[in-house]
């Protein structure tokens, strides 16, 4: 009987740009939504790949190995923005203490929407408005919201990728969605 053969993959940095730059770029752009930042992340990934090429054991493909480096770069970026002071704050929608704890703050109570605006939900202008509203969110909220809602990733995968717990994720999604709802109400539906 033949022994199963194990494929040992090799690195070929000469072909990285041609073979993987678009793939890595696409992987990162949906997560960070910024061309320059994505470009930097791709560059850092290749540089880190070169520096640690001697540690490549050949157990995974070149592409998988480069993606794992890029994932770490994205987590580093996420941690950086998470700890950055002075970032946009999320506005509270509910009383945080007292006998009304957990109830809607009066000024944040949802209002009925204009029916005419409700009919125009497939327009490019509305999609642009959503982008504007997402940009008002703190970066980590925007990133988690995009990964879950726009990129439609699984909760487990986002948690693994960003090293957060599912309850963290749902708090972020909840705060992001309530803030976005208010932003769209003020700037689109009742504008």
């Amino acid at each position: 009987m033949n022994e199963p053969t194990t494929v040992v993959h090799k690195l070929d940095p000469n072909k990285w740009i041609d073979n993987y730059s678009d793939y890595l770029y696409n992987y990162a752009i949906v997560r960070v939504n910024d061309h320059d930042l994505t470009k930097d992340l791709v560059q850092e990934t290749f540089l880190a790949g070169l520096k640690s090429a001697k540690n490549f054991e050949g157990k995974s493909t070149e592409r998988t190995w480069l993606i794992s480096i890029l994932k770490r770069k994205i987590i580093d970026y996420y941690r950086k923005i998470n700890s950055k002071k002075g970032q946009a704050e999320i506005r509270m929608n509910f009383y945080e203490d007292g006998e009304n704890e957990g109830s809607w703050l009066e000024e944040r109570v949802p209002q009925s929407w204009d029916h005419e605006a409700e009919k125009k939900i497939e327009t490019v202008e509305l999609h642009n408005q959503i982008d504007d509203c997402i940009d008002y969110l703190p970066e980590k909220y925007a990133m988690v919201f995009r990964m879950k809602t726009i990129q439609e990733m699984e909760t487990e995968d986002i948690c693994k990728e960003l090293d957060i717990t599912p309850s963290n994720l749902w708090v972020i999604i909840h705060r992001a969605r309530t803030q976005l709802r208010k932003c769209l109400e003020d700037n689109w539906f009742n504008n």
Binding site: F94, G102, I121, E122, W170, I173
Partner: protein
């Protein structure tokens, strides 16, 4: 028994948000519906939230199509190629 099912508006809207992704549990949904009996604001939030989910899905589709076409320019790739070559030399 019903006391255990009582939740605040903050909790109700959190469940509602989770439900938009099909990830609320059965108990969550029971609590949410119980909350709806006495809170019309959260009913309105849920109605609007469901509509927003539909809008976000449309945007997700459009974005995925658009972003699949994005990449670095040839000049940017060339610059990066030179950086890497410098590092390897």
């Amino acid at each position: 028994m019903f006391k255990k099912l009582e939740i605040t508006c903050d909790e109700a809207t959190t469940i509602c948000d989770k439900n938009q992704y099909g990830e609320a549990s059965l108990l969550d949904k029971i609590k949410l519906n119980n909350h709806f009996i006495r809170c019309k604001i959260c009913v309105l939030y849920t109605k609007q939230n469901t509509m927003l989910t539909k809008i976000y899905k449309g945007k997700a589709k459009a974005d995925q199509k658009y972003k699949a076409t994005l990449c670095m320019s040839n000049e940017e790739k060339e610059k990066l190629r030179k950086e890497l070559e410098k590092l390897r030399a």
